[in-house]
C-alpha cells in the first residue's frame, strides 16, 4: 500500500490545492470571530446551526474534501496514469484504501484545526466541546472522502456533481426534510457532536447517535467497497 499512498500524497499536495484548502478551512474561524465580536452575539443554538452545522459540516468540510478526493482517482483516470496501478499485481483494495487514506491524511488536519479553533473561540476555551466538534469534523471528512473518491472513479464530472450534492442535498434538502437526514453526512457528524458533549449540545432525535454510528460505518464501508468494485470492473483508460 505504501507506494500508492505516497504517490497520492504527492499528487494531491499541489501548491494551489493546499492554498484553496487553507483559505476554505480558515473561513469558519474568521466568521466565528466576527460573529462573536458583533453586538448581537448568537446563542449556542444559533452558532451551532449557522457555523458548525451549515458551514463547517455542510459546506467547508465537503468542499475541502471534494477539492482533493475527486482528484485522487479522477485525475488518474483523466491523465490515464491509473493503468500504472491497475496493471500491477496488487489487489484492487490496495489501490482504493491507500488513496482514501491519503485524502483523509491531507484533509483531516485542515478541518481538525479549523473545527477546533472555531469551537475554541466560540465556546471560550471549552475543551470538551472543542474536541466534540473536532472529532465529528474528522468523521465527516472521512465519510465525504469515501464518497468523493468513489465519485472520482465513476464520473469525469466529479467536481460538478459533488458541488450539486453539497449545495442541494447537504445544504438544502437535509436542512428541512427530516427523512433526508438519514442519508446526510452532515447530520451524522452533528449527531456525533451532540453525543460527545451533551452538556453543551442538546441531544438530537433524528438521527440519534446509535443510528448515526451505524450509518457512518455503512456509508464509509459502502463507498470504499464500491470503489474497489469499480476498480475491478471498469475499463481503465
Amino acid at each position: 500500500m505504501g507506494p500508492v499512498y505516497r504517490l497520492t500524497l504527492r499528487q494531491l499536495s499541489g501548491r494551489w490545492r493546499l492554498a484553496i484548502m487553507t483559505v476554505l478551512s480558515s473561513m469558519p474561524v474568521i466568521i466565528a470571530v466576527l460573529m462573536l465580536r458583533s453586538d448581537d452575539a448568537p446563542s449556542v443554538w444559533e452558532f451551532e446551526s449557522a457555523i458548525l452545522s451549515a458551514m463547517l459540516a455542510g459546506s467547508i468540510a465537503p468542499l475541502v474534501v471534494l477539492a482533493i478526493a475527486a482528484a485522487a482517482m479522477g485525475n488518474e483516470v483523466e491523465d490515464r496514469t491509473l493503468a500504472n496501478l491497475t496493471l500491477s499485481p496488487i489487489p484492487r483494495w490496495k489501490i482504493a484504501v491507500p488513496k482514501l487514506l491519503a485524502v483523509i491524511t491531507l484533509a483531516a488536519p485542515f478541518m481538525a484545526v479549523s473545527a477546533f479553533l472555531t469551537s475554541w473561540v466560540a465556546f471560550i476555551g471549552d475543551v470538551q466541546a472543542s474536541i466534540a466538534v473536532t472529532v465529528s469534523a474528522v468523521v465527516g471528512v472521512a465519510l465525504y472522502a469515501a464518497a468523493f473518491v468513489w465519485l472520482g472513479l465513476v464520473s469525469t464530472q466529479a467536481i460538478g456533481i459533488g458541488l450539486l450534492y453539497i449545495v442541494l442535498w447537504e445544504g438544502f434538502f437535509s436542512g428541512f426534510v427530516s427523512g433526508v437526514r438519514l442519508l446526510s453526512i452532515r447530520h451524522y457528524a452533528i449527531a456525533l457532536m451532540h453525543a460527545m458533549d451533551p452538556r453543551r449540545f442538546a441531544p438530537v432525535e433524528h438521527p440519534n447517535v446509535t443510528v448515526a454510528l451505524v450509518l457512518v460505518t455503512i456509508v464509509f464501508g459502502g463507498f470504499l467497497l464500491m470503489s474497489v468494485r469499480r476498480l475491478r470492473r471498469m475499463d481503465v483508460p
Binding site: 496493471l87 500491477s88 499485481p89 496488487i90
Partner: protein, 341 residues
C-alpha cells in the same frame, strides 16, 4: 489461425475455407482456427463494441514467444484489442487468456506481464528513477536498486535518471516508461505504439533492445501503424483492418497469400520496347507500361510465374536484364491493398 508460426491465412481465405469445409464434409466443419497449446496469449472469438460502434469483431489468434506485430491503420481497433489483451478493458464477447489464465481481473498475472500503453502515463513531478522504483515496488521486485539500475541501463538513460520527468523529451519519457515496464523482468511485453516520439537513434536502440529481449525468450507484442517498424522487428504480423483480423503470419507469407493482388515489377534492360512487346504476351502479365526513363513496369497478378517466365523470355529473345525490382514489396502496399478490400 496461429500467429507465431509460419502458417498464414488471409481473413477472406479463412472464411472461404470454413464454408468449403462445411460443404465438403457435410457434417463436420473444418475448425475455424488451429490452436497451439503453448500459446502465450490466446484471443478467442473476441468482439468489443461501444454502443452501436463495433471496434473489434470476432477476432481469434494465438501469440507465441518472439516478436509479434499488431499492424493496422489508426482506428482499426489495435489499441482496443491490446487493451483487452492486457485486461484493461473487458470484452463484449469472447475470451482472452494469458499464460493459460483469464487476464481480466487477475492482478497476480501482472507479475509476468509488462505493459506500455500508447499514452504518456508518467508523473511529471517524479524523477525518472523514482518512477521506475515505484513501478518496481508495485510489482514486488526484491532487489529493487539492482533491478532499477539494470532497467535504466537497458534503455540507456542512466545520465538522466535523477531529472524530473517533465524535463524529458518525448522519446526519453518513452524509454523511461519502457524501463518501468521492464523492471520486474516480465515474460510478456505488450507495447502499444512504442516508437512514438523516438528519434532515429532511439529507434535503432529500441529495436536492438526488443530483438535482444526476444532472443532471451520473451514474448513481445507491439502495435504500430508504421509499416517499416513492424516489418523490421516482428517475426509474425497480425493485420487488423476495420476491427477484424485481415491476415496473420510472417510478412512474406502474408504477401504471398495475397496472390490475387496486382504486383508492379520494374524491369531495366537493354531493349525495353522489344521486351515490352514480348512480355505482354505472357499469361502471368496483365499490362505493361513504359517509363520515360526507359524502364518498363509490368503489372502481374501471378508474380511467381512471372519470376520464372521473365528470365526465360529474356534469354530466348537475347535481351539482357539489368535490373528486376518489385515496386510494392513492402507492408505499405500489402496494407493498402487489404484496407481497400
Amino acid at each position: 489461425m496461429t500467429a507465431g508460426t509460419q502458417s498464414f491465412r488471409a481473413a477472406g481465405e479463412e472464411s472461404q475455407s470454413t464454408r468449403q469445409g462445411d460443404l465438403s464434409t457435410g457434417t463436420t466443419p473444418i475448425p475455424r482456427v488451429v490452436r497451439n497449446d503453448s500459446a502465450v496469449i490466446r484471443v478467442d472469438g473476441v468482439s468489443r463494441w461501444f454502443g452501436s460502434v463495433v471496434a473489434v469483431s470476432d477476432v481469434t489468434f494465438d501469440i507465441m514467444p518472439g516478436i509479434t506485430g499488431l499492424l493496422g491503420p489508426n482506428g482499426a481497433g489495435k489499441t482496443t484489442l491490446l487493451r483487452m489483451m492486457t485486461g484493461l478493458a473487458t470484452t463484449s464477447r469472447g475470451t482472452v487468456t494469458v499464460f493459460g489464465e483469464p487476464v481480466r481481473d487477475n492482478p497476480p498475472l501482472y507479475k509476468r506481464i509488462g505493459v506500455m500503453s500508447e499514452h504518456e502515463t508518467v508523473y511529471g513531478f517524479m524523477k525518472g528513477r523514482e518512477f521506475v522504483e515505484m513501478m518496481g515496488r508495485l510489482r514486488g521486485v526484491r532487489d529493487l536498486a539492482g533491478a532499477v539500475d539494470k532497467a535504466i541501463a537497458l534503455v540507456d538513460l542512466a545520465d538522466a535518471q535523477y531529472r524530473p520527468m517533465d524535463t524529458y523529451s518525448r522519446g526519453m519519457r518513452q524509454r523511461m516508461r519502457l524501463a518501468a515496464t521492464l523492471v520486474h523482468e516480465p515474460d510478456l511485453l505488450i507495447l502499444d505504439e512504442p516508437l512514438n516520439g523516438a528519434d532515429p537513434r532511439q529507434r535503432v536502440h529500441f529495436k536492438r533492445l526488443l530483438q535482444q529481449l526476444a532472443s532471451e525468450g520473451k514474448t513481445i507484442v507491439l502495435s504500430s501503424h508504421i509499416l517499416e517498424e513492424v516489418e523490421q522487428l516482428a517475426d509474425t504480423v497480425l493485420l487488423i483492418v476495420n476491427g477484424k483480423l485481415a491476415a496473420s503470419g510472417g510478412f512474406r507469407a502474408i504477401r504471398a497469400a495475397l496472390n490475387q493482388r496486382p504486383y508492379h515489377v520494374r524491369v531495366i534492360c537493354d531493349a525495353p520496347r522489344r521486351l515490352a512487346a514480348e512480355v505482354v504476351k505472357l499469361p502471368s502479365v496483365d499490362a505493361v507500361n513504359m517509363d520515360p526513363d526507359g524502364a518498363i513496369v509490368v503489372l502481374s497478378r501471378n508474380v511467381q510465374d512471372l519470376q520464372i517466365e521473365l528470365p526465360r523470355l529474356a534469354q530466348s529473345a537475347r535481351i539482357s536484364l539489368r535490373r528486376v525490382e518489385p515496386l510494392d514489396d513492402s507492408l505499405e502496399s500489402v496494407f493498402g491493398y487489404l484496407v481497400e478490400q
